[in-house]
């Protein structure tokens, strides 16, 4: 049971972070390979709040997420302001996450706090249980769904499709991008906090570039402009290697290879542009009714 729990919790945490990347990369079309940096910021802040200030962990997670969101605006504003369509931003996220990781690795002391440098920062454990992660995941999914179907979400999709046309139609580019980025970084921050609560410590080694590529992989494999696709792949990408015990190095080689193959042959990913809904139930019911009436006609 403990093993299944581990997979459920780690999978759930990965899905929360991947939903954030999906909102930014999948829906708004902004490439990021630095989301591990936001995870680290949110994770460390919530860990410090829980341990040093005995804040309730739910509140600490939210504050951690908000902190990651605010930090993301600091790199988002200058890079979105220049009109060079996202490249500055991608490089800035990469530089930012590497800088954060190196800083956490090398700083043992922040003011009066000892955050442990590369040894990591231990916190009380036992709070990231399966129900907590499942509730967080459901809330995250619900909110993401509400966001992408709202007017803001539609603006994001418009930007991803054609920035110039979107601006012509009155979409405020800078504001829409910043909103998407803030939400995306908030998700990453909460996921980082949950990760610390599960492992009972925070370590800079959690937030390497490998973590960022895993999140990107979930979105690319799962599909652009889809929430349910990344949801499934983010979970499978955590669960499958644990179950199959595939070697870590081969996993990353395969990821890279799949990135290229998917972009060349099926750029929309597994479930690109497909959204979770229950229309198939309705459609199936209609089909069933139709078939019945046909067979009845045949009898008459």
């Amino acid at each position: 049971m403990g093993y299944i729990n581990t997979i459920l919790i780690l999978g759930g945490i990965n899905v929360i972070a991947a939903l954030g990347v999906s909102i930014l990369t999948g829906y708004t079309g902004l490439f990021t390979i630095g989301h591990a940096g936001f995870m680290a910021l949110g994770g460390y802040l919530s860990a410090v709040l829980i341990k040093e200030y005995e804040v309730h962990f739910v509140l600490a997670l939210i504050i951690g997420g908000l902190f990651a969101g605010v930090a993301s605006l600091i790199i988002g504003y200058p890079s979105f302001r220049s009109r060079l369509r996202g490249d500055y931003f991608a490089i800035a996220t990469l530089g930012f996450s590497e800088a954060i990781r190196l800083l956490l690795n090398n700083m043992k002391q922040v003011g009066p706090l000892n955050i442990g440098g590369s040894f990591g920062y231990s916190i009380p454990s036992g709070m990231a249980t399966v129900p907590v992660v499942v509730v967080a995941l459901l809330l995250a999914m619900l909110f993401a769904h509400m966001f992408v179907t709202s007017q803001h979400g539609k603006n994001c999709i418009a930007i991803a499709q054609d920035e110039v046309a979107a601006e012509m139609m009155g979409v405020n580019l800078l504001r829409t991008k910043l909103i998407a980025l803030f939400i995306s970084a908030f998700y990453a921050g909460v996921a980082g906090g949950l990760m610390g609560l599960f492992f009972a410590y925070q370590s800079p080694s959690f937030y390497s570039i490998t973590q960022s590529s895993n999140l990107l992989a979930a979105v690319v494999f799962g599909g652009i402009q889809s929430l349910i696709g990344p949801f499934i792949t983010a979970f499978v990408l955590v669960a499958a290697p644990q179950l199959l015990l595939v070697m870590e190095e081969w996993r990353l080689i395969a990821y890279g290879f799949l990135f290229v193959l998917i972009m060349v042959f099926r750029p929309q990913g597994l479930l690109g542009y497909v959204e979770m809904n229950f229309n198939f139930v309705k459609a199936g019911w209609n089909k069933l009714v139709a078939r019945k009436s046909i067979s009845r006609k045949a009898v008459h």
Partner: protein
């Protein structure tokens, strides 16, 4: 004063390596409008090929370097044909190009990690006495690296601005479709561009390997080159060189006078400050920035 001069010298020598890398990014960006994330994999690949040629096959340095350059050109052109060309042909969004490039990067770097091992290795060249100018010591390899880097950049300039192929590349950078309507062979331009990035990345990789160490993840240094090319102005060759020199010298001064812990953080903060006050980089023109 001596300390300052010493820092300046090592700043310029690392800046020269950044310049090679930044120019490689700028070349691809100026024509295909995407950041070639696979570039750092080419750099590590070139350095490791040179390392193997010297350490295992006992080749002389110059022969190993040429072999590494040829192999990296093949790799770079090969990835262009397999990973980018199909996307370009159907005019895929830039996001897809970047993801594909990231995939190439992951595949190459992790394959090297698997077969070469992730350990740091010293590049097998004899260490030679540095030259002293007053009290400032200048490594002979630094000098060679600087000279060859500037030589390569000068040759590139001559190629771009004084040859017919260079004209074709510059025309493509303004508008690739119009250029192809005027009879410029797009595929040939792509082969030349990616071949050039192979040369630039290998030269940078070998000298970086000599200066520090050879390992599959050595390409992460190219983040600095990207930052430098943004500071200068993306897609603009002279700006990339100026940005690289500036970043190389400033970060070496920070490492020397404050702490090497803050060097990378400084580079990043510098980028943010530059973007706040110069949204298109120091020398970038607003709107379309080209070669």
């Amino acid at each position: 004063m001596d300390l300052f001069l010493q820092q300046l010298v090592s700043g310029i020598s690392i800046g020269a390596i950044y310049a090679l890398l930044a120019v490689g990014y700028a070349l691809v960006y100026s024509i295909y409008n995407f950041t070639n994330w696979a570039f750092d994999a080419f750099m590590a690949f070139g350095a490791i090929m040179a390392f193997i040629a010297i350490a295992s096959l006992a080749m002389p340095f110059w022969l190993a370097a040429i072999l590494a350059i040829v192999l990296t050109i093949i790799l770079a052109v090969g990835t262009e044909k397999l990973a980018y060309k199909p996307l370009r042909m159907r005019k895929a969004p830039r996001l897809f190009m970047m993801i594909s490039a990231m995939g190439v990067n992951l595949t190459i770097v992790q394959t090297m990690n698997k077969f070469f091992g992730g350990t740091f290795r010293k590049f097998p060249v004899d260490s030679v006495q540095p030259i002293f100018i007053g009290n400032v010591s200048v490594g002979r390899m630094d000098l060679l690296a600087g000279a060859i880097s500037f030589g390569v950049l000068a040759l590139l300039w001559v190629f771009l601005y004084r040859s017919k192929w260079g004209l074709a590349i510059r025309a493509s950078s303004i508008d690739i479709q119009t250029a192809s309507l005027m009879g410029i062979n797009n595929d040939a331009v792509a082969v030349i561009i990616f071949g050039l990035t192979g040369v630039l990345s290998t030269v940078a990789g070998v000298f970086y390997g000599i200066k520090y160490a050879v390992f599959p993840m050595m390409g992460t240094i190219t983040i600095k080159a990207m930052i430098a090319s943004i500071i200068g102005g993306l897609g603009n060759l002279p700006a990339a060189i100026v940005g690289s020199m500036l970043l190389g010298v400033l970060e070496t001064l920070v490492a020397g006078y404050i702490s090497s812990t803050y060097r990378d953080l400084f580079s990043f903060l510098f980028l943010i400050v530059i973007l706040l006050f110069f949204p298109n980089g120091l020398m970038g023109k607003s709107g379309d920035e080209k070669l």
